[in-house]
Homo-oligomer: 193 residues x 2
């Protein structure tokens, strides 16, 4: 089994997600994932620190992508629209991996430890966005508020995308959510009904 | 020890927060809390299910207060401003318990399990706000977006309040944060620097 295994990382990821979906994250062992993938446990641990990391391994490069898009946005762009470019970059990445993202979502929703981990990941993304806005010259509380709102828009759009038909593109949903929020924030009082 | 103990709940709460601050949440036992309060473990368990609940017992009535303020807001008020009234009610409650809130914040910040619990509590509050906005006739994604933004404003204002001098009132910080966010959301592009 010491020989080179083509796409072993992809095979482990697919095997893990199948097993987590079939029997639950908590009832799946690394040995079972390796067996389903036709690989050894040793190969698993060359790619992932533990079975949770199969679900969260992409988190760091995801955050880097969002932060880079915001940092590279024209200086003339309002912060909320720079953040919109960051979210669009995130949406484009997830759109490419739609089947994985949907399956991953169902697995995480079914397990409290994983839900908590996901919440913490989003809190970390919010802090990274605020830091990027600081470097663009925005002070607090505006930077932190805009970062938290970015996460809010992402979460709501993400939930909608997960439920949506295959025809709906995540980038369009993100853009629609941001426009909707701008409309809500600028809403004027209407006559009482 | 079977006799009536005046303000036993308050004494247990103060003893618990002292001990969590001194030696950490994870290194404190219920027996030690009861002893510090001059009460029995049995009395502790009449008031709290476990030592974590001392920190989270107020969460349900806190959520009810926010939801009631939003539900009672005039129908003519835009959703974001109805939500602003909910946040103002929350801020008024916390302002009254400032010393407790600050100490509680430090304890939670020092423990991963408690931080996760706090994040989940805020996610639950967001869902309750969205549901209240639905009942006011707002559809999705506007309702979910506005609810998530309410949580965003609350989190940022809360962090600022915890760090602020005693002279700063939480309600004013909430109002200032909401106004700042409205300004950010309505910002127009400026000439590149």
């Amino acid at each position: 089994m010491g020989r080179w295994e083509p796409d072993s990382r992809g095979r482990l990821e697919r095997a893990a997600l199948e097993l987590y979906s079939e029997r639950g994250f908590e009832n799946t062992t690394v040995a079972e994932i390796a067996e389903r993938a036709g690989l050894t446990e040793r190969t698993f641990f060359r790619h992932y620190a533990d079975k949770r990391e199969v679900l969260f391994a992409g988190g760091e490069s995801f955050q880097d992508l969002v932060v880079a898009a915001i940092a590279d946005a024209p200086a003339s762009l309002p912060a909320i629209d720079a953040v919109g470019l960051g979210l669009a970059a995130a949406a484009a990445l997830l759109q490419e991996r739609r089947a994985f993202a949907r399956r991953r979502h169902m697995i995480i929703a079914a397990n409290a430890e994983l839900r908590e981990r996901e919440l913490i990941k989003l809190a970390s993304l919010s802090a990274a966005i605020a830091e990027t806005l600081h470097r663009r010259g925005l002070s607090d509380p505006a930077a932190s508020l805009t970062a938290e709102v970015a996460i809010a828009v992402f979460r709501v759009a993400y939930d909608r995308w997960i439920e949506a038909s295959d025809a709906e593109d995540f980038r369009q949903i993100i853009r629609g959510s941001l426009d909707e929020l701008k409309a809500q924030m600028g809403a004027q009082p209407v006559a009482a009904g």
